[in-house]
């Protein structure tokens, strides 16, 4: 459906968009699924993720509980990914240089503004993204929603 490579380029390959296009390998969670499909197929996993998000939502700041929980989660995820290969959607083999340009602009703009604010001291007058979002993260619901979204994004990443 979508071809992100330059037109007329013999090396260009379309990006797989149907199940038939996907690489089929041994996977502990069956065929390629989105985070939402995974929660429907394995409700217990959604429950564990929600409990994890709730527990993290109850923690505050640079204290031991969130540090330990996130460190343990990170190591468990690394071990799981290393020992259990995941079925992944194939990545595009080439990207259009012109098509990638908007992303380069967005990424450079973000990095530039963040670094400028950081080197200006990350103060009220020149806040970094973290300083701007700090008040929102004081709220339990925002913290839980962030962790749920973060876990979903992570699931999407490991399937790519």
């Amino acid at each position: 459906m979508t071809n992100h490579a330059d037109e007329g380029d013999p090396a260009a390959e379309p990006i797989a968009t149907t199940p038939a296009d996907l690489h089929v390998t041994a996977s502990p969670v069956g065929p390629y699924t989105t985070a939402w499909q995974l929660t429907q197929a394995k409700p217990w996993l959604a429950a564990v993720a929600l409990m994890f998000a709730t527990a993290l939502g109850l923690t505050r700041g640079l204290t031991a509980p969130p540090q330990v929980m996130l460190a343990i989660f990170g190591w468990i995820m690394c071990a799981w990914l290393a020992l259990r290969p995941m079925e992944r959607r194939p990545a595009p083999q080439r990207l259009s240089l012109v098509g990638t340009l908007p992303w380069v602009v967005v990424i450079l703009a973000f990095a530039g503004l963040e670094l400028y604010s950081f080197f200006r001291g990350s103060t009220y007058g020149h806040p970094t993204l973290s300083v701007i979002t700090d008040p929102a993260f004081e709220t339990f619901g925002v913290r839980v929603a962030f962790v749920v979204g973060w876990l979903g994004a992570g699931w999407h990443l490991v399937r790519r």
Binding site: M1, T2, N3, H4, D6, E7, I15, L56, T59, G61, L62, T63, P66, Q67, L70, G74, M77, L81, R89, A91, P92, L95, S96, V98, G99, T100, P102, W103, V105, V106, A109, F110, L113, S117, Y124, G125, H126, P127, L129, S130, I132, T133, D134, F137, R143, F146, V147, W150, A153, G154, H156, L157, V158, R160
Partner: protein
Amino acid sequence: MNTHYLTVAGFATILAALVVVDALGRRPDSRIPTLSDLLAYVMRTWPGRVGVLFFWWWFGWHFIAR
């Protein structure tokens, strides 16, 4: 408008641009890759994969453990 609101407006504009560029990438026959395809392209190599997944983990840690 002081520098605080200018900076907030800057981040909001960048966030909006991210959403717009990703939406443009989802149009049929678009030459712009979606963010997912861009990251998948970077993650084709082992160092790229480790780098992206580490950034994802750090991103969560940075905001939760503040």
